[in-house]
Amino acid sequence: MTQAETLPIAAPREARPLWPRLAIGALAALVLLPLGVIFASFTDPQGAVWAHFGEFVLPRLLLNTLWLLLGVGLGTALLGVSLAWLTAACEFPGRRWLTWGLLLPLAVPGYVLGFVMIGLLDFTGPLQTTLRDLFGTAPEIPIRSRGGVIAVMALTLYPYVYLVARNAFQTQGRRALEAAQTLGFSRARGFFRVALPMARPWIAGGLALVLMETLADFGTVAVFNYDTFTTAIYRAWFGMFNLSAASQLASLLVVLVFSALALEQRSRRGQRFTPGGRADQGERIALGPVARWLATLWCGLVFAVAVAVPLAQLLAWAWQSRGDLDIRYLGFLHHSLILAGSGAVGVVMLGLLLAYSLRARPGRLASIAGRFSTLGYALPGTVLAVGFYLPMSAIDNGWIALGSRLGQTWEPLLGGTLVAMLLAYGVRFLAVGFHPIEAALHRVTTSMDEAARNLGSSGRDLLTRVHLPLLRGGIATAAVLVFVDIMKEMPITLMTRPFGWDTLAVRIFEMTSEGEWQRAALPAITLVVAGLIPVLLFMRGGEMERRDAA
């Protein structure tokens, strides 16, 4: 927080400071480079490929993609909001450990859960096989289907909504809800008319992340052989050796996501989301004798399917391939943790910078540029990795050429350095660092700044005593999400890592790319366990925060 003194907090409009514009411009430029590469593909028209795709591929794939977005969106909203409300506002048996247990799917990559579920439930899996052995016949379980892929993606992605919604429910205070009840609202109506609308920017931010990730996903849908828009991109690139057509398809994604984000933001304009009282005041809702066990059942069921079952299967497989475990795993773990840790710190800083810049300088252009800089999350990872690598190499080549003109042998500036990796992660995950912080920042109104100033607080003091306590949840949420996302990330890591910098995700890639799924379980389980560290820290931090508040 050394920037505190130089950052004017929500300066009055007349002052028109320059730094927010510079910051937004710099962030947008960082993202603009890879996007520019992708859009530049239109200089190489691919009419024949488009005609082919238009006739045979896109109609079905677009429909598939829409269904997937709809299903995963509804699924994560339902799971995330219900679980968040139950664990944040209600009391039921097992609430304490389920609260953090329900976060664990964050660390389980979607393709892993998908592979495990297909392995268990498909025709050749133990369930159907046992049933056939017992009764001679078994009901088909259509797991390799639209419903299957939606269920699996919803089960791995709901924590994005759960985490932010829980943060919202927890900090919005019970007073508004109590007020609603004194007005004669039932508990359910109070939830739908008061608590839910008040949590909207949070939920919308979480859902935006879910939908962007769904659009960009290739690993999970590939396990189900469920063709989406991303499949078409890779089919054009890897199958037809046509990177231009692939980039053009990818640019459609960018336009789509950008419009959706703009719409969502527009619909929120003019609404204000101030806390209705001190955080976490009031009693938890005491559920009835049946309802409380239903709550346990619901949370426990989600935990079992999304966490316990895949972990058990991974453990069993990892045991079979325990011979692979050697001293190198320390190195993989080390690299994963360093990259995820420094990446999380870096991306959260960028997210804070962007959120504050937008707050200090509201306006259409700033808002567009701000939205723009979060688009990296919606692009298929490999496409973004190449989009990043091209300009990076161009800079390096220019640098080396300059050196040789001066009679020097200069090493590449960026290629093969961690700086390049961290920049690429920034481009990819800025959305994840930004949305939770932006949502939390809604709480800090300008009138609060003014009130604090009138009380003699400003600069660093204002930041640490007014802003930081209100932002803490958002910052921690962002950091955990980015950390775990980087741990799981493959394409950028593969493309930009220095020689020898293999990570756990790289190990998973090595094993799965030739179908050795069982052997991938060992790095996968290591990754899941390592991913738990920040999640557990996060929960502990949350507990302490509440104790502070009490």
């Binding site: 052989n225 037809m240 190449v386 390096d396 593969l494 030739e514 179908g515």
Partner: protein
């Protein structure tokens, strides 16, 4: 007195640092070779380790998928650190060659060791192991006398009995590309349409899943790379899965094969070292390990296969140059789109 001593130490330190900074570009030059590999680490590192011990040359390598590796080579241009590109299919080598990313390798050793149809006609790349894509059937449900060619799998007698892997996988794209090369696009499309009509269940994400489906009786036969069968049989030799070699008749073209292979990059910093590594990988000693590690077939016909692989019997390969897999791959993908092969 302290100062001069400290000064001389400092000078020495500076000298050492300077030397170290300058050394990599000069001394190291002949001692290492840099590889971009789409072949997995676990299938390639044991060989690199063996080569390092045998030759004293350091092998540095990076793995990734073919598409990103090619894009990377292109972007890095003259300054690429990579000397050698390894892939697990011929199509991507063909594409690398077409994009001007490879340079011809002039080696009589390679020409002696690797048959013509597994090498680029212009010597831009060379196959190092052979991957046969063939029929695997469930002997409880299929009489091998019923089997003949890839094309015959399109016959109505197999309706509801065939399992396939997704057409997104390059192995199937190569197979269809070779069908186009042999029989023309029209006939290839008829065959693929027939396969799709005969499917028992939607295509699987990987060969192993398709094999398991055949073993469990969800369908009767499938088309896979043989090493996937090898892996499964190693775990459970009792699985009801048998290999059939199609297209073995006098008039027929032989079994469809693909390669895992490599080529020297156009802007290699150590082209000689890269050539020597390629030659070593094609040698008798390395070939057995290269192919054996993953139960593939050696590209060098003089080298024996692994015992399990030998038990599947001998077969005649398609003599068509595997470069055609690349040349017709885009057409194959479009064809499969038209035929509804997902």
């Amino acid at each position: 007195m302290i100062f001069p001593a400290a000064l001389s130490q400092l000078t020495r330190a500076v000298a050492i640092v300077l030397c170290c900074a300058l050394l990599p570009s000069t001394l190291h030059a002949e001692e290492e070779v840099v590889v971009y590999s789409a072949r997995n680490e676990q299938l390639i590192k044991p060989l690199f380790d063996a080569y390092e011990t045998a030759s004293g040359v350091r092998v540095r390598f990076l793995t990734d998928k073919e598409g990103p590796l090619l894009a990377r080579l292109k972007a890095e241009g003259v300054n690429t650190p990579a000397d050698l590109l390894l892939t697990v299919d011929a199509g991507n080598l063909w594409q690398a060659a077409r994009s001007g990313l490879l340079q011809p390798v002039d080696s009589t050793l390679l020409q002696e060791r690797i048959p013509d149809h597994l090498r680029d006609p212009d010597n831009l790349w060379v196959g190092l192991s052979v991957r046969a894509r063939t029929v695997v059937y469930n002997p409880d449900r299929v009489d091998p006398a019923e089997l003949s060619t890839y094309a015959a799998l399109a016959d109505p007698q197999w309706r509801g009995r065939l399992c396939l892997r997704t057409s997104n996988k390059v192995y199937n794209q190569s197979l269809v590309a070779m069908l186009i090369a042999e029989q023309g696009e029209q006939e290839a499309e008829r065959i693929v349409r027939g396969w799709v009509e005969n499917l028992a269940t939607p295509p699987f994400a990987d060969d192993t899943a398709a094999l398991k489906a055949v073993a469990a009786g969800q369908c009767d036969l499938t088309l896979v790379n043989t090493y996937y069968l090898g892996r499964l049989l190693k775990e459970d030799p009792a699985l009801p899965l048998k290999i059939f070699w199609p297209n073995q008749g006098m008039e027929d073209s032989g079994v469809h094969v693909n390669i895992s292979g490599g080529g020297i990059t156009r802007h290699a910093k150590h082209p000689e070292a890269a050539r020597r590594l390629l030659e070593w990988l094609a040698s008798d000693e390395a070939q057995a390990a290269f192919a054996g590690e993953n139960l593939e077939y050696p590209a060098n016909p003089g080298v024996a296969v692994a015992p399990l692989v030998a038990s599947w019997g001998e077969f005649r390969q398609s003599p068509l140059n595997v470069a055609f897999a690349g040349a017709h791959q885009a057409a194959a993908v479009k064809l499969m789109d038209r035929a509804g092969y997902r």
